[in-house]
Symmetry: C2
Subunit: 474 residues, 2 copies
Amino acid sequence: MESLTLYESVAERVRRTIQHGTFAPGRRIPSVRRLSSELGVSITTVLEAYGLLEREGWIEARPQSGYYVRSRSECPEVEARERRPSCKPADVGVEDRVLRLITDSRNPSLVQLGSAHPPADLLPTARLTRLMSAAARRLGPAAAAYDVPPGCVPLRVQIARRLIGAGCTVTPDEVVTTNGCLEALNLAFRAITRPGDTVAIESPTYFGLLHALQLQGLRVLEIPTHPRSGISVDALRFAIEQNPDLKACLVMSNYNNPLGSLMPDESKRALVELLTEHDIPLIEDDIYGDLCFSAERPRVAKAYDRKDLVILTSSVSKDLSPGFRVGWVVSARFQREIVRLKTAFNIATATLPQYAVADFLENGGYDAHLRRARRVYAAHVEAMSRAVGRYFPPQTRMTRPQGGFVLWVELPGRVDSLQLYEHARAAGISLAPGPIFSARQNRYRNFIRLNCAHWSDAIERAVETLGRLVSQSS
Amino acid sequence: MESLTLYESVAERVRRTIQHGTFAPGRRIPSVRRLSSELGVSITTVLEAYGLLEREGWIEARPQSGYYVRSRSECPEVEARERRPSCKPADVGVEDRVLRLITDSRNPSLVQLGSAHPPADLLPTARLTRLMSAAARRLGPAAAAYDVPPGCVPLRVQIARRLIGAGCTVTPDEVVTTNGCLEALNLAFRAITRPGDTVAIESPTYFGLLHALQLQGLRVLEIPTHPRSGISVDALRFAIEQNPDLKACLVMSNYNNPLGSLMPDESKRALVELLTEHDIPLIEDDIYGDLCFSAERPRVAKAYDRKDLVILTSSVSKDLSPGFRVGWVVSARFQREIVRLKTAFNIATATLPQYAVADFLENGGYDAHLRRARRVYAAHVEAMSRAVGRYFPPQTRMTRPQGGFVLWVELPGRVDSLQLYEHARAAGISLAPGPIFSARQNRYRNFIRLNCAHWSDAIERAVETLGRLVSQSS
């Protein structure tokens, strides 16, 4: 950290008393004269410091009265701004910093606000491991055999059953199990597109999806989204008019990563109808769908699929175990091609983890597990939101997710999140910088995504540090 | 099965007495007159039957003496014939029958001579499952976490150690773990080629490799092989001269599937030198390398790699567990790109199976396990070879593998192995028909690959049935 000028030091001191609640919102802070004498600095220095804090939004001057802490119970919400999609497809370039972020996710010396991993203490790992041993005993020789695609029958039965709760009736025959959700997405892309094709995606979009799109040689059209309700169907309609050759559309309909947005049912229906009208397949990534903060999980867009055009993908990586690598893709129309591609890529998904997950879903207490996880994530997202509201400068905005466990934070316009990422990392904190959530250069430059899956005092202190770093660079 | 004419029935009867050893090689069989009276058929019918058996090579007529069982202790060896590769790259088309073969591998009502799967009773499944539980307890939270590429450190250490025994010194940093060997191959192809590029492969080649080549949009040049010593380096040299744009070469240097061929060390050295001279990467699939019938496993071609141009792939699917899906790819030069591709395709390989395999390799008795497996496979390949020699028509030829557990059988030229496959399947037997081992239409039409991993009376009876089906269609 560079050394601060005198007035910056004074501003930092006052900023911290506000952050720590010594001066609550609405309260008057010491007069210029009093602080000058208390700290033994000149009147001019205090005036400069208060001017900085005013510009940052921490305080406001009231005529004839003095300086007051600005009232704000929490950060303002991120606003939707763009209404029209860019009409030119873009190539996807994935940056080294994504790989670094992923590598960092295993670094125990970092406070993990970067990757969206669930916390170990919330995962039923011991139970799943016991179920795996039991499955090995029960299966006998089949435990060691290739579980050839479409994959583990009991798991496919459970997935079909669970989907009823998402408003969707499919048969186990339509399900193909995969080595996680990203593999499911890659197989779906590959089944319906060719390199050079264009796919419509939400903006912002999870960087792993951009990775997969790049791997498949696809171009993207980024469609504007609303931070609460997800992809703009109107904007997508406009994009289709401009790009009649669009080969697919990809959305995270429920609790989009990084927005946490939830498409209302009417919007899901409209999306499927629009795409059906143009015979464009929809790939729907529902990986966060079960992690709603409400008692009942939302429907999937596939619930409105009348023409078998929606390919649904998901996995257990967010709610049961990332390390088990159990995911799936659901589509009657493309099932055969997906099986062919899966066979050609890696023959099969590991056998025992699939059986353990099937048993857990059937009678391992998945519903009780989900109730607990939903409660915990809702509380952690709330705690993170409060901390950001407290420690980040007042021009900060953030999302109000109703599910999942990530928070999308808009920093003051001058903040460069790529620089912030470096500074944070040097301070022992990982975070996901905004630009990795878009295929376009420099988009979301002043945004960051924070993982809220965990919460602790150490994390609160890390958010405080982040807030200071943000203030310093804004 | 179609009903036989009278003389065919008589021939079949005699054929079976020979197959069962009632009439040993060199012995005289009943005279025409005697058989005619014994069976109550005309002299002409017996003469027709003996003529058929003569043409099939079962018996021979000796002037002034009668008919004798032809002497043959075993089938002749498959011979190398082609010397020059075709100079035009071919597109790879993978047929539905490969998917059917893979699906059939889980069909318990079939005698499994098709897919090359190891027998369950030879795999240390219970021990691996216990090691997986132990690893879960030991790892704690990390047991559920993504094992991000390059993957499980203890496993990479064991792989590097084991490679010393194959004449190859690599560091664990050069190893990337994968979801099986085919994924390793796909990542290797993807790292060094682009769709439309041409790759030199052995002919015949394992159909899974052809699948992967097709998936990556690659064209192939099929290089002639010798059934004992593998790819012809001279033919490859010629192919490179004709195709200077060749982007990679792929070989199974040790116990090629389906040939069982083993490249001599000098040939491995010459291959690597030739490719190095032209700066063409070699992808070496060593999946059968540990399953030698000798006490010591052969070297890998990578042992002769001075310029870091050999990418080695393998897995535990043939010796420990297909269902665990644990494989790897070794390359210093392309490690970073492979990590990037693996991350973009499916993020990670399942965590616990990797740790269990690492523990098994370190102190689970892998060497003792290998000694037993080698003994068993050598015995089973021998038993299968004898049975083929006994029940198949005498024009049959076969390989003499010194490792692995498949046998490549050349049937009389008139036999169509695709038809044989259908007839065998109807009789409850799976086998791998020759044409799926080449990208070219109709190659190896009269060849089949038999899985010799298992052996039992039921299998001997199945081979007898196969022999009869072959005789009927030859």
